[in-house]
């Protein structure tokens, strides 16, 4: 991440910044620019989804009927909770409550693991039934001739999102270790804020993925 310009355990700023606040603002601006690239990358998939959804509405409805909304809704709540604990970790950093920072990050991490677990169950069902992307599609009772295309989008979108969850888990582990060392407090929490923004974006994308894939269809 771009946020780690300060050496471990110190609160000084890198040589090319005027002061720590300058460094914080600059880092956050950088993270926002990075989030823009993420939005546009996912956006390409969303644009593709909308286009084919417009072309083949019935096929997409059939595809969505093969997804279980209960899994999707549970995952939505899990991710929302993780976002909540993520933002609380920054709240506690600014209250100098070191212990609670770690706890909040730990719960965030647990939520992420739960999310991936549920994803794993869903994926194995789909793979078992042959509801697979494009050429690999082998489900026998499909009505639409190109139902595989729906699962192409399902797997590409959730797959790319899932890979971001994995990256996020790595980042959260990293700041959790640093939080355990007591590095964060009201004067220095730049990495927590940066990772937090990334994590909220992952949540934000899922907020759209859930209705698009599971409900609207």
């Amino acid at each position: 991440m771009s946020t780690d310009n300060t050496a471990v355990g110190e609160r000084h700023h890198a040589h090319h910044f005027n002061n720590a606040e300058h460094e914080f603002n600059t880092s956050m601006f950088g993270v926002w620019c990075f989030l823009l690239t993420e939005i546009l990358m996912f956006g390409g998939l969303f644009v593709g989804y909308f286009i084919f959804h417009n072309l083949y509405p019935d096929m997409f409805a059939e595809g969505a009927s093969h997804l279980d909304w209960r899994y999707g809704a549970t995952n939505t709540l899990v991710l929302l909770m993780s976002s909540f604990t993520m933002v609380l970790s920054i709240y506690y950093a600014r209250k100098n409550n070191t212990k609670m920072i770690s706890w909040c990050l730990f719960i965030t991490l647990l939520c992420a693991i739960a999310f991936m677990g549920i994803k794993y169950i869903e994926y194995s069902h789909k793979i078992h039934e042959g509801l697979l992307p494009g050429e690999l599609f082998s489900y026998a009772h499909a009505e639409a001739a190109n139902l595989g295309l729906y699962f192409s989008f399902y797997f590409m979108m959730t797959g790319l999102h899932g890979s971001h969850v994995l990256v996020g888990m790595g980042l959260i582990t990293w700041i959790l270790i640093r939080a355990r060392r007591g590095e964060f407090n009201e004067h220095y929490y730049t990495p927590v804020e940066g990772v937090g923004l990334f994590w909220h974006l992952v949540d934000l994308i899922w907020i759209y993925l859930f209705p698009l894939l599971y409900l609207v269809g």
Binding site: W32, G43, N54, L80, S83, R94, Y208, P211, L215
Partner: protein, 105 residues
């Protein structure tokens, strides 16, 4: 030095936001056709997107602190949406105005 950082938002605000998000998730599930049979026809998708956007607003404004950010950080987010809209509009416009010979599916 934390002067220009965002003011600390109270715990209660965060709690209310997460409660609102959970509530909206329940709403979006409850009004979905596959779940409750509630059907507005073509508006189903628009309604789901509207609720999702409400949720996205809450996450962006409160969790991501966008309500306290500079104009420039806000405009970054808007820029992303604008350019995606451009890509979608043009692609869709092209497909809709093509001679319909592409697919029989």
């Amino acid at each position: 030095m934390s002067d220009s950082h965002h003011p600390v938002t109270s715990f209660e605000t965060y709690r209310n936001v997460i409660l609102a998000l959970i509530f909206l998730t329940v709403v979006t599930v409850a009004i979905a056709k596959p779940v409750s049979g509630f059907d507005l026809g073509v508006l189903n998708g628009a309604l789901a997107m509207f609720v999702a956007t409400l949720k996205a607003y809450l996450v962006a404004a409160y969790f991501m602190g966008l309500r306290f950010e500079d104009k420039i950080n806000k405009s970054i987010l808007i820029m992303g949406v604008v350019f995606l809209a451009l890509l979608f509009t043009v692609c869709m416009f092209d497909i809709m105005t093509r001679v319909p010979v592409t697919s029989t599916l």
